[in-house]
């Protein structure tokens, strides 16, 4: 194998890993700050300037907590569950195209760890594996609240994945490709899919909220009824892993939303630049979009109250899926019409 390619991918993986963790870390900080601002408070401001070292302090605290395992818990599953959650959360970032190619040391470097032809399927697949972390965690804890949380999480994810998948199919219809790189390239400039497919965007966004177990769909861990749900029995860094996985998921979801509907790294007026500068700016723009969507996730969380579980199922099966299907049908007919099938 080409050592250069190997090195380049290795470096990219390490950078991506660090960025994912860093973003997840600072999402916790941002979440508290945003919550505070929305509630006319100040938020964490003691650790370092503006409280910027708060995530480090939290992490340190997590490490020094007692690593507790309930007596009747299934030890092995109990330990593996946070690992699965974390693994799945991190692995999806591999197929996301972070920017156009960069030229360094005489090499044409692709800013995508794995160029998979079926990138979007890969992401959908791994996201649905993500439910295993929660399921196993809730089951292994041997606690009824955890089990409730786990069951809710799995039924919710399965219900919303359907609508999400249909929304994705509409995008795939538009581009004719499952490759995330192709999908991004098809949205050159300001030619973003959100303008062509606003309904699909809303459906995808709502489902992304549900997939990440974020409010108003955080029924898997609603504190008021399930005392934390699937991670009730977890403590120390195992709990930390679950929370980290949640924030990493949010990061990846924001990235996927940006890729599918907001042009990924494309921005209006990008034709005026070329080469590495373009690539750098693209990466910057992409991250700006991601941060914006993370903010929107939080914005929604601190605005809307939680759904009741029957309402959640009702919304998922009776509203989202039919709307997504009709949207898909209309898109398909329009595309067929434009391609001249009816002539």
């Amino acid at each position: 194998m080409d050592t250069g390619l190997f090195l380049e991918k290795l470096i990219l993986v390490v950078i991506l890993f660090a960025i994912s963790l860093g973003v997840a870390m600072y999402s916790t900080y941002l979440e508290r700050k945003v919550a505070a601002w929305f509630q006319d408070r100040v938020g964490p401001d003691r650790a370092g300037p503006w409280g910027l070292l708060q995530p480090l302090a939290d992490g340190g605290k997590m490490f020094f907590k007692e690593d507790f395992t309930p007596v009747n818990a299934d030890k092995w599953l109990f330990i593996i569950a946070p690992g699965i959650a974390m693994f799945v959360a991190l692995i999806t970032s591999a197929v996301i195209p972070w920017g156009p190619n960069i030229f360094l040391f005489g090499r044409d470097i692709q800013l995508q760890v794995a160029h998979v032809d079926i990138g979007i399927l890969f992401i959908m697949g791994f996201v649905s594996i993500g439910v295993y972390g929660i399921m196993i965690g809730g089951w292994a804890s041997n606690n009824k609240f955890s089990l409730f949380g786990a069951i809710r999480a799995s039924s919710q994810m399965i219900s919303y994945e359907l609508a999400m998948g249909i929304a994705v199919i509409t995008i795939v219809l538009l581009t004719g490709s499952l490759d995330l790189g192709e999908i991004v390239k098809a949205q050159h400039g300001i030619n973003w899919f959100v303008f062509k497919q606003p309904v699909a965007f809303i459906i995808f966004f709502v489902c992304a909220l549900a997939e990440c177990n974020r409010a108003p769909f955080d029924l898997a861990e609603c504190e008021s009824e399930l005392i934390g749900g699937y991670h009730t029995e977890y403590g120390s860094m195992k709990l930390g892993f679950f929370l980290f996985a949640e924030y990493t998921n949010m990061f990846i979801s924001s990235a996927v939303i940006a890729v599918l509907f907001f042009g990924g790294y494309n921005f209006p007026g990008m034709d005026a630049f070329t080469g590495n500068w373009l690539a750098l700016m693209c990466v910057g723009v992409f991250f700006a979009k991601i941060v914006f969507f993370i903010f929107v996730f939080m914005w929604i969380r601190w605005t809307i109250p939680r759904f009741r579980f029957d309402q959640l199922m009702h919304l998922g099966w009776k509203r989202m899926i039919p709307i997504a299907l009709i949207n898909l049908l209309i898109t398909a007919v329009v595309i067929a019409f434009m391609e001249g099938w009816f002539n």
Binding site: A36, W37, F38, Q39, D40, R41, V42, D45, I202, W299, I300, W302, T303, I304
Partner: protein
């Protein structure tokens, strides 16, 4: 049924209209409201650095006053203990000996005087009952302690220091006693 106030409202169970069923307008409305709060001034007081000013009539930890010559005002009459609804005050009276005139103003004085700060409800009735203007509530907070009996404050902590008088002018009732 006749309502007691004019604030009561009939519960409405009307069906949601189509637009309401979409949830989205309501959600965007809510998000607009929260967004406006981003730019509002916060009300947080950064506590250890900033503290809130107490109202002049704040009722905090008691002080047993001395007069201008530094003699204790209290004459152990026990009226404060009688007035106290929480029964927080106990005292033992003693007779002033010769040579102690510079210590106690009256011939009878309190040998021990204790207020149990855990019982006290800071109502200020002791202050009102006192005929000698000896006990006052101040704007000081009762410090937190690790032991319960630390909260039973004796004279060592209640009587003010001669050189370090405690300002109670805001609550000073001198000359106004008769009016109350």
């Amino acid at each position: 049924m006749q309502s007691l106030t004019n604030r009561s409202k009939m519960v409405s169970n009307k069906k949601m209209s189509f637009v309401e069923k979409l949830y989205l307008p309501a959600i965007f409305g809510g998000m607009l409201i929260t967004f406006k709060h981003l730019f509002k001034k916060h009300n947080t007081l950064k506590y250890p650095e900033q503290t809130k000013k107490f109202a002049p009539v704040y009722r905090g930890q008691h002080v047993l006053k001395r007069d201008e010559e530094g003699r204790e005002n209290c004459t152990a009459c026990g009226l404060c203990a009688v007035a106290c609804p929480a029964e927080a005050i106990t005292m033992v009276a003693g007779e002033r000996k010769k040579g102690e005139e510079s210590l106690y103003r009256e011939e009878k004085y309190a040998e021990t005087y204790e207020i149990n700060m855990l019982r006290c409800i800071f109502c200020g009735l002791c202050e009102e009952a006192c005929p000698k203007e000896a006990i006052f509530l101040t704007d000081r907070l009762v410090p937190s302690q690790f032991e319960r009996n630390e909260f039973i404050m004796g004279k060592d902590r209640l009587v003010e220091d001669v050189n370090n008088r405690i300002d109670i002018t805001a609550r000073q009732l001198t000359g106004k006693r008769g009016e109350i």
